[in-house]
Symmetry: C2
Subunit: 148 residues, 2 copies
DNA sequence: TTACTTTATTTGTATCTACAAATATTGTTT
DNA sequence: AAACAATATTTGTAGATACAAATAAAGTAA
């Protein structure tokens, strides 16, 4: 279904306006797919993002700020995301002894197992397999260019 | 800046995984740009979306359901978005006399003037002008394909 | 040392979102 | 007509987001 059909709009002022609207619509669609994907696992996409970042440092720690700057959604409140993950025993938090302003965040062993379990499900990026690899590459290049 | 640089991730399992992450990151970035764009006008991107849809019917009405199915963000709560727009006198709401379950939503003259004023600002789709028109076209085609 | 600035994180709060349930009207059966 | 189902919208509410302000530790300068 084309974007025009999706939102019942026949005319667009340009291919550029259409691309803007298509990007907004598609990202809302994707966000909905993501939520559905993670719901059975009891986490949100942002919580997953935090865990992936901590996995990258495993078994070492990461600070709140370091997680912040690697998040896909920069407006996430790391403190409260981590609170949720600690409740589930997927992550730990302790004061950095060298700099008591900072917190050391770590993914736990059960957090690692949890991620492993998720990765056995069909991954979200399978949607992109409707593109050829060259197209995916161009797609990435276009998005990078877009953001300036 | 490439997506890898943005989120400080060197490796991706494939061009497809990278495309997924790039799309999520870019859409968050765009959402931030949008919010900044609309803030001086005192409305949210979703409120703007409702007004654009009502403009398309002007001077006729649209029902809540009709607005719903044309929204870019399908999870928006039209009732509460319209409440806000009525407060600002940009939109009116009255019971449909032929079917009292339905509401007739209309953009007001001052709502039309308001939109006119916004359209005189630099439009958000200027970001896409870093693409050629053929690229924008392909971009649209790829997004449509993505959603299946 | 005291005062001031910077850095890192947390908290407060108004608003928004997701989604289920409630309400109200219309349409359909029996 | 009474009962039930379908449709259209609104409301309730737990949780999430945006963003400003608060807190607290570390660094710097007089």
């Amino acid at each position: 279904m084309t974007i025009g059909e999706e939102i019942k709009q026949k005319k667009f002022s340009s291919e550029y306006e259409k691309a803007l609207i298509n990007l907004i619509f598609t990202s809302n669609w994707l966000s909905c797919m993501q939520q559905r994907f993670f719901k059975p696992f009891g986490i949100t996409p942002q919580q997953y993002n935090v865990m992936r970042i901590l996995k990258g440092q495993f078994p070492g720690p990461a600070s709140v700020g370091m997680v912040q700057e690697r998040m896909l959604d920069r407006s996430s409140n790391i403190t409260r995301l981590v609170d949720k993950l600690i409740e589930k025993k997927l992550v730990t938090r302790c004061e950095n002894p060298n700099n008591r302003r900072m917190q050391e965040l770590r993914i736990t062993d059960s957090g690692m197992a949890f991620l492993e379990n998720i990765s056995n499900s069909a991954p979200l990026h399978q949607y992109f397999e409707t593109l050829t690899e060259a197209e995916a590459s161009l797609f990435n290049e276009m998005l990078d260019r877009l953001r300036g």
